[in-house]
Structures are given as C-alpha cells and as structure tokens.
C-alpha cells in the first residue's frame, strides 16, 4: 500500500493519490463495530472504491494521521457517559443522557432495542437515525446502569 498517499485539504476533504490519479475520497469502515481499525474503503464521488486500506499500519505516518482524522469524523457517534432517565411513553421511549459531546435527550421507538456491538458495548438508534454508543456498560455509574439494565444484555 506504499503507493497510496492520503492528505487532508484545508476544507477538511480527504484526497487520495494512487499512482498518477488524485481524487477526493470518502472513507467508509467495512466493519465499523467489529473491526473499526481495519478494512477502510476509500470511495470517490461516484461511490466507486478507489482503494481498500486493510490496515492503517500499511500507510506512511502522515497518510495515517489524515485517515484517522477523516475516520473520526465519518465514524462520529454520540457517546453516552451517563443516563439521567429513561421514560416509557405511549409509543416512544424517552431518554435523557449525558454524552461525551454534551447533554442530549432523544427518543427511540418502543420496539427498537439497543443493539449489542461488542462485548460490553451497545448502540442505541433514535427516531431520527442518530446513534448513541455506550462503550462499556460496566463503566457507567450505578444509576445509569440501573436505567439501562432493562434494555441491554
């Protein structure tokens, strides 16, 4: 993969250079939850694959940094650090949480359960499609764990 170089432009766009081709690319993790660090597909404006990065270690340092920046942005999800309350309403479940990004309240459909994505990690999807990641249920405080208990494991 030495022939692939990645660079972030001033406008935040990621550009890939392979051989003599230089193209703006979007990053797409093939396994965002099971293997977040490996298999990243770089795709052009027509959504065609430009290259598949099997492991960031294959890239030179500056390309790797550019890729990691782009991945952080594309893979962004709100990360729940604390749960204040979960209320059941008529057809929705109403969550009030603290996230790493700030306080937030959101709603899920009542038959839409959090999805297990790793050993202790859960992903909650709200009615708008936003994702809320609970990295490790065990690391939450007791009150948050109590709230969450009915919905995970």
């Amino acid at each position: 993969m030495r022939s692939l170089r990645l660079e972030r432009q001033i406008d935040g766009q990621l550009w890939a250079r392979t051989g003599d081709r230089e193209v703006r690319v979007k990053v797409h993790r093939c396994f965002p939850w099971s293997e977040p660090g490996r298999f990243v597909s770089l795709r052009d404006a027509e959504d065609e694959e430009v290259a598949l990065v099997r492991d960031a270690g294959e890239l030179d340092a500056s390309s790797r940094a550019a890729l990691e920046d782009a991945l952080a942005e594309a893979g962004f999800v709100l990360e729940v650090t604390r749960i204040h309350a979960v209320e059941e309403e008529v057809e929705i479940r109403y969550w009030r949480v603290e996230t790493r990004q700030g306080p937030r309240s959101f709603q899920t459909r009542r038959d839409d359960w959090p999805r297990e994505v790793s050993a202790a990690g859960f992903l909650i999807r709200d009615v708008s499609g936003d994702l809320y990641y609970v990295r490790d249920t065990g690391a939450l405080d007791r009150e948050s764990r109590e709230w969450l208990w009915a919905y995970v494991e």
Partner: protein, 788 residues
Amino acid sequence: MRQRAEMKRREEMKRHGGRMDREIVARYTNQPGKMPAGARAAIEAEWDGAPVQLYALADLDARLRLAETWVALGAECLAVAHRRKIAGHDSRAANAPAEWEVRSVPRSSVRAVSESPGLSGTMLSFLAEPDEPPLATVRYTHRQRRAMENLRFVVEEQLRGRRVEPAEPDETYAESVAAPIREAQALVAGSRVAVIWRLLGYLRPYRREVTIGLAAAGLITLVSLIPPYLAGYLLDDVVRPVRDGTLDLSRGTLAAWVAVGAMALVYVVRQAGALVRLRMLSVLGEWVARDLRTELYEHLQRLSLSFYMRKKTGSIITRVSSDTDRLWEFLAFGVVDVSLSLVMLTGLGIVLVSLDWRLGLVMTAPVPLFCWAIFLHGERIQRLFMRAWRKWSGVTDILSDTIPGMRVVKTFNQEERETRRFDRRNASVTEEYNRIHRMWTTFWPGLMLAVHGTTVAVWAFALPRLLEGPGAEPGLSAGTFVSFLLYTTMFIGSVEIIGQMARTMNRATSSAHRVFEVLDTEPEIVEQPRPVRLEPLAGRVSFDSVTFGYDGVRQVLRGVSFDVEPGEMIGLVGPSGGGKTTVVNLIARFYDTTGGTIRIDGVDIRSLEIGHYRRQMGMVLQDPYLFHGTVVENIRYGHPEADLERVIEAGRAANAHDFICRLPHGYDTVVGERGQTLSGGERQRVSIARAILHDPRILILDEATSAVDTETERKIQEALDRLVAGRTVFAIAHRLSTLHRASRLFVMKDGRLAEAGTHGELLAKQDGIYRRLHEMQLELQGPRQGED
C-alpha cells in the same frame, strides 16, 4: 368564497400543526423550538433588515461537540450565526443580538454544496470557486438533517437557475425536527387526567346505565359494612346480656333471629347488587368499546393515504382491536373498582376509628404503606417485564427469521447452529420470566405477612383491654373486637386495587392516547361544501404548473403542465424517483397539490365530489390487492350489485375466465388475504376484471405487467388492451415495449416533464432521455429474449 374558506381551514390546520411541532421540539429535544430572537435579529441586522426565509440548526461544532450554530437563508444571502460564549443553554442570553457572531455571504457566491454524511454526523460545505476554501462548513446530527436538506435544496435549485421562495421559516424548521418523533408518536403524551376525562365522555349516552351500575356498586359497598356490625351487636347486646341474665331469653332469641334474617337479607341484596353492577357495567363497557371501534374505523376510512404511509399497519390494527378491548376492561371494571375501593377504604377507616380509635389507628395507619409497597412492586416488576418482552422478541425474531428461510438453513446445513441459537435465547427468556416469578412470589406472601402482622398487632393491643372487662374505663367489648376482626378482612382487596391503580390508569391512558391519536388526525383531503359531480366524465386531464412535495420544501413535482384529451393513452416513463407515481397519485386525488391546479374536464379537481369522482377512476397496480373473499366478490368489489353475466364478461375480457373455470370452486373460490391461492399473473387478471367491471373513465396502470412470465404478460397485455379502449389512461411502465399502444409518452425526470410526444417523435430526438432508455432496453433484450 369557497376557496377562501378552504384556505382558512388549511391555515388553521397548519397553525395547529405548527404549534404541535414546536411543543414536540420543546418537550422532547433539548434544542430551541425556533431560532432565538437574538440570532435572528443579529442576522437580519447583517442583511440590512432582509428577513430570514429558511433556517436550520447545526448542532455540532468543528470539534464535534454539541453546540448551537444557526444557518439561515435570506433572499440574497446565506448566514451562519455562532453563539459567542459557549456557556450552556441560557435561553435568555440568546435573545440578545450581541451574543451572536454572524458571518454572511451572498448566495450568488455559492458555486456548489458538498455533503459528507457519516454514521451520526454530517458535514455540509458551501463551496466557492474550486481551490478556494469553503464559504461555510457546518456539522450536524441526523436530527437536523431534514431542516438542512430543505436549505440545501433551495440553494441547489438556485445553482440550477431556479428560484424557490420558502415561507414560514419557523414552521418549516419545527416540522422537520419534530417529524421523526411525530411519525413514531403523533402527540405529546399529555395530562393523564385530561385523557381519562375525555374517555369518560364516551359514557355520556349511557347515563342511565352508569347511574344504575354505580348505585348498585355503592349499595354493595355499604351493605358489606353491615354483617361485621351485626356480629358485634349480637355478641355485645344479645349473647352476653342473655348469659348475664340481664336480657330475657325469649327476647334475646327473637333479636338473634332478626339479626340472622338481616344477615341473610344483606347477602341477598349484596349479590343482587353485584348482578346488576356486573351486568350493567360490562355491557356498558362493551357498548363504549363498540362506539370507539366504529368511530375509529369510520375515521380511518376518511383519513388520507399519507396517514397510512406514516403508520405501520400493525399499529393501526391493534388500536382498533386490542386498545379498545383494554378500554372496555377499564371502563367496565377499572373505573368502578378504583373509585369504590377509595370509598371502601375511607368508609372502613371511619368505621374502625369510630368503633375504637386506638385499634382503628393500629389497623389503618399502615394502609398507605401497603399501597405504596404495591405501587413500587408494580413499577419494579414493570422493568422486569420490559426485559422479558425484549428477550421474548429475540425468540420470535429467530422464528420469523428461520422458518421462512428454512431452505437456506438446510442448504448451508446450519440446523444445529440454529437450534443452539434458539436454545440460548429460549433459556434466557425463561430466566427472565423466572426472575419475574421469583419477584412476585416473594412479594405477595411478604405483603400478606405484613397485613397479618397488623392483625396480630390488633390482637396484641386488644387482648389486655378485653381482659380488663367492660367495667374498667379503657375496656373493650368482645363484640367490638369481633366486628373489628371481621372488618380487617375487608381491607386487603381494596388495598390491592388502590396499589395497582397507577398501573391500571397507565394502561388505560396509553390505550386511550393511541385511539385518540387516530381520531385527532385530520384527513388532509377534504371535500368542499358544495362539490361538483361530473356526469358523465369525459376524461380530459390537465395539469397547470403543478408542484408537489410530500414534506418540507423538497418538491417531488416541480411545475408540471400538460393536457390530456379524453381517450388518450399516456405512457409515463423515466428513471425511478422522477415523479411518475406522484402524478398518478395526484390524478387519483390521494393528495392535494402544493401549488398549481389539476383540472378534470376543465373543473378544478378540488371542487369535485371525491367519492363520485373516484367511482369513475380505476387502478391496476403492480401488486394487485385482492380482499379475503371469493373471486366473484373481488370482481364485484366496486359494484356489488352487478349481475353474473357481466362478471363473466369482465372475466373473459380480462383473460381470466378460463383459469377461473379451471378452479374447482370456479368464481366461488375463496382467495386468501392477499389472494395467496392465485399466482401473481392470475391475481393481476382478476384485478383487471375488477377494473373492467368498474368501467372507469380514467384508468391508471402502475407497472401492471412487471414480475410475470412472458406468456402471462401476453395474456395480461391482451386484457389490458381491451381494458384501455375508449378511456383516458395513464400507464407507468419500466418496460417500454408494454406501451406500444400509448398515444403519447411523457418522460418524467427530477419532478419535471422532461419530454413528451409519440414514440417516433421521441426517438427522433438526438440525446433524448427516451431514446437512451429505448436503446438500453433493446441492448438488454437481445441475449435475454425468451427467458424473461
């Protein structure tokens, strides 16, 4: 005049919707219900007073932390407003324009808009010339996506040289943020009391029954208090005086028999009361449930198709079935049980305290505690049920996954793994249920122990005083004590009902909420006060600059105009998402246009009588819907009175008569809920027969011949050719060959009528869309001929 009334009604609906949306945003999201006055003032000041036409919130900053940045669009400019201090959410400070830092660029300098969508966050950049840094970049979560898309749509339309003038920025913003929540739950879960009141309103027509039922229930409660009193009276005023010799034996015997008779009478009255109560109220509850179901179903029939697009079928069905059933339970028993238990507990409390205040207090003081314990238990077990429900859905998921997919399971030889997967989930759901069983089996005996504890306490307090004898001052008579013990046994039932009151109310209010949500949805298509009937309908259809959008400012149709003469057959072609289906949906008046006018025979479609108009309209869809019933019932769906001769005629014309005759039960064959017993092509021909019998003036064919084999297609095509003769037809087709009879073809692309003309005219166009489609299909057809 009529139009003004119509506009007023629409405005009223819109205002109501807007208020609701703002309420939803305020109640459910921690973001402002509209752009803060300060930000707006600051932006408009930057624009020399030009008003904000459309805006959206970008709720992430460059470091992807939650923030508040507003993007606004005016007639000439685009502005981004950041809050100067990032100090929490102080809404008052937000109203000061000085709090906001505004960057504005002329809209004409935007050359492109680029969007990088991520899992939860999207980055949107407004770009200037290539190689120049972007004019503005904002980041936001999916919650803001619809509002941002509206904004982006307007900007991109301008890039294409088209001007969109959005109005009502506050409404548009609130609507787009609230939409996903409203789709899941169309109302703000409001005050429980208000919902219960509204529900009780349904009892009004049955005032007499309610009064009798309640009176009977009251009577039962009152007479229940008599037997313990009588027991006490017998002991203190008959048995003991007779033993002591202070009362004459014969008078004592008489009094005793009178008391026994009274006791018997009490029980007779009580059970008679119970009979009246149970019968009156259960029948009454059934009536109310019936009324609700009728009202719901009638209302569902009136609701526009957009409602059915938003709601899942299952959720609508449960509202009519199980929710009304639950309301029956509540009205028939819940209301009375709860109110009488309250009366009973108060009555008992008063009687006990007045019999003997010390013992009375010992007995009544713990009652609130018991109620509280039952309430808490209910809440806790509710959480367990939630878990069990989730695990249970895990089990049913496997079933609905693997049973229809059994062929795949077997092909890959994965039976054992599937069994293990099922076993795991089965074990885990069992564990959850057993957790529930452990909980309630611990709780109830424990509670009973506590209740008996108070009885023991009563004994402990009473005995010393009993032994002191009636002469001593604080003494307690044996009769009072016995009455007391009997009264205490009556406590427990009421305590149980009161403790579960919260849950009963909860269940009833959520069912009522779901029912009222439907009843409160207004049909979007409404008839005008004096609608026009076109008789006979000639079938001239004209579109005059018709625009339409399902939601927000995004338009699915953008200024479509055409005139179709009676008897013409129009083929609608073009890429998917181009607006073909929307055109036919508008002709059928499933929706009303957002702008422009549709005229049928020169009359505005909105002033036609809907039912009468639709009776002259027919539809044959890709997946024809047959109702559960016989073939003949399905063919006669639009005209139940049509005679059998005509049914067979229609069957023949639809090429369906022969295969129907081959069925053992002929035209009386019952077809399944979605006509499962017939093949796709057969169902299609039954639906064509239905359309032929219906004899519409305007006919819509939506992909009527896709998904069938060539032979069947030929038969359907023949049937269709007979069907279309002499009617105005709009046919949507991907396979252009099926449109060989069309008098003209309309090519729809990007919500516009891109090309129109005959097959020959359109082929003659160099670089024409139709020509390209045609060539592509010819290429594909070569190798696939015969197998298709």
